[in-house]
């Protein structure tokens, strides 16, 4: 039984694509067959973060418009088996996507035996974002601990509850999960950032995990490897926890409080 998971946020630049890359890689590492689709037509980024930008021959729009087959367009990840990427087109815009076309791609992926189909949503609440979430069974709401991001997430949650296929057909609602990115407990303590509790209180969505703010995330993006693969990084561990919790494991939340650094770490640690 395949599940369609949308990674969305409303606001741009909060870490949707980073989360999509690490989340799909994490699921594939667990042995599931995963496809990750970049819905951000015109501003493709996912292939960069996944490090496959030089291997894109056909893209999502080509498949939607029938110019290429799904098999031709799916890019197999070189590091993790069972992980496939469907890149966005850089030259087209979001009008190139149609509801029927997207539905066909998702149905074909399900038939091809993918366990998880991850839809990396573009920012905003317009057509691209609505198409990305329309067929979702579950949603990862990516939010920064900051008021405008939280408000935009609230807005997209409303759209999830009103404009998804499940909502329109009156089926069981989309399962919502909160992923708090760029979380910095130090700045929460000084009052510069909203705390986990504040965000959960505002959004009333259960927390799947908080990803600590980390240089490793940017480094990993630049290197074209999902941060989850960098096992020493706190962000990677947090993403691994997110995957575990998503799969139903009980994992205690980490990285939510200020870490007390010992003298040794102060001198030599990051």
């Amino acid at each position: 039984m395949s599940r369609v998971v949308v990674v969305t946020s409303g606001k741009g630049g909060v870490g949707k694509t980073t989360t999509s890359a690490s989340f799909s890689t994490g699921l594939a590492l667990k042995g599931y067959k995963v496809a990750v689709i970049d819905f951000d037509v015109g501003l493709r980024n996912l292939d960069l973060i996944m490090g496959c930008e030089r291997r894109v021959v056909y893209d999502f729009v080509n498949v939607v418009q029938g110019e290429a087959s799904l098999q031709q367009a799916l890019i197999k990840d070189k590091r993790v088996p069972n992980l496939f990427i469907l890149a966005a087109s850089q030259t087209r815009d979001k009008d190139a996507l149609t509801l029927e076309g997207v539905e066909k791609v998702i149905e074909d992926l399900k038939e091809a035996g993918f366990d998880y189909i991850i839809c990396d949503s573009p920012a905003g609440i317009e057509k691209g974002a609505q198409l990305a979430l329309y067929f979702a069974d579950e949603a990862l709401i990516v939010t920064n601990p900051e008021v405008s991001s939280v408000r935009d997430s609230d807005r997209i949650l409303g759209i999830l509850q009103a404009k998804s296929k499940r909502a329109e057909k009156g089926e069981a609602p989309i399962v919502e999960h909160l992923v708090l990115t760029r979380y910095n407990p130090n700045r929460v303590e000084t009052g510069e950032m909203l705390s986990v509790e504040d965000v959960i209180d505002l959004l009333s969505v259960p927390l799947l995990g908080a990803i600590p703010e980390s240089e490793d995330v940017l480094n990993a993006s630049n290197a074209g490897a999902p941060v989850v693969l960098d096992e020493n990084s706190a962000a990677a561990q947090a993403y691994a926890d997110v995957v575990d919790r998503f799969l139903g494991e009980e994992v205690e939340h980490r990285f939510l409080t200020v870490e007390k650094k010992g003298l040794f770490k102060k001198l030599f640690g990051k």
């Binding site: 609440i125 408000r151 935009d152 609230d154 807005r155 409303g158 509850q161 009333s204």
Partner: protein
């Protein structure tokens, strides 16, 4: 492709001229006196006549219509149940509106809550989840109960009372059809705007002490009155 015409029902606000006398001279004097107080105001306004007396002289309506035209008002119709007056109205070229009795009924149920409760007033609309940014909920002709929070950028509107068992961070409107006895009850109010029957306060005008706990908002002397519960 473009529509040439479109026929639609619409509710307009009209001036009603109530007539308490069937003497045309008396009526004429009273009208002239009224108009002289603010001559510009009456120019071009549509007027509906409403005789509160019977036994109108057969020429009464025709004379009155003529007089109103002189005063640059536009009589368009008459509201009456009296058959003889209806007949006269036909001759005078006035539209006949049915009597006020039916129309009056509408504001009544809102005012006498208790009585109407027994006779099947619409039960409250219940929202079991949070109302999110960009969402709008309108409970027409009834109360609204929200079990979750009302988030920033959301709007909840009721013609009756509003109850929120969460925090109100968006906008909240009670008595939106003008019911001044409507109230707002909330677990916590940190609203962008609180409004009862068109009288409102913005977040910055609400004293911080009312933003702490359970609070009731009502109208008192045309002002919002916050009362911690």
């Amino acid at each position: 492709m473009n529509k040439v015409i479109d026929l639609k029902g619409s509710i307009l606000s009209l001036t009603v001229l109530k007539l308490f006398s069937n003497d045309i001279e008396q009526t004429k004097q009273a009208l002239e006196q009224k108009v002289s107080q603010a001559p510009d105001f009456f120019v071009g306004i549509p007027v509906v006549l409403e005789p509160e007396v019977g036994n109108l002289d057969p020429t009464f309506l025709a004379l009155l219509v003529e007089l109103l035209h002189q005063k640059q008002m536009i009589p368009i119709g008459i509201r009456t149940e009296d058959e003889s007056i209806k007949e006269q109205a036909n001759y005078a070229g006035l539209a006949v509106f049915s009597g006020e009795a039916k129309v009056k009924k509408r504001p009544k149920p809102e005012k006498s809550d208790q009585k109407e409760n027994c006779s099947g007033l619409k039960s409250a609309m219940v929202i079991n989840h949070a109302v999110r940014s960009g969402q709008q909920v309108y409970a027409k002709d009834r109360d609204l109960i929200v079990m979750g929070s009302v988030n920033p950028g959301a709007e909840i509107i009721a013609d009756g009372n509003v109850h929120v068992y969460g925090t109100v961070r968006g906008k909240v409107f009670a008595g939106s059809q003008g019911e001044t006895s409507a109230r707002i009850f909330a677990q916590k109010i940190d609203a962008e705007l609180v409004c009862i029957a068109g009288l409102y306060q913005l977040s910055e005008d609400i004293l911080p002490e009312y933003k702490q706990g359970f609070v009731e908002v009502s109208l008192l002397n045309e002002q919002l009155n916050f009362k911690p519960l």
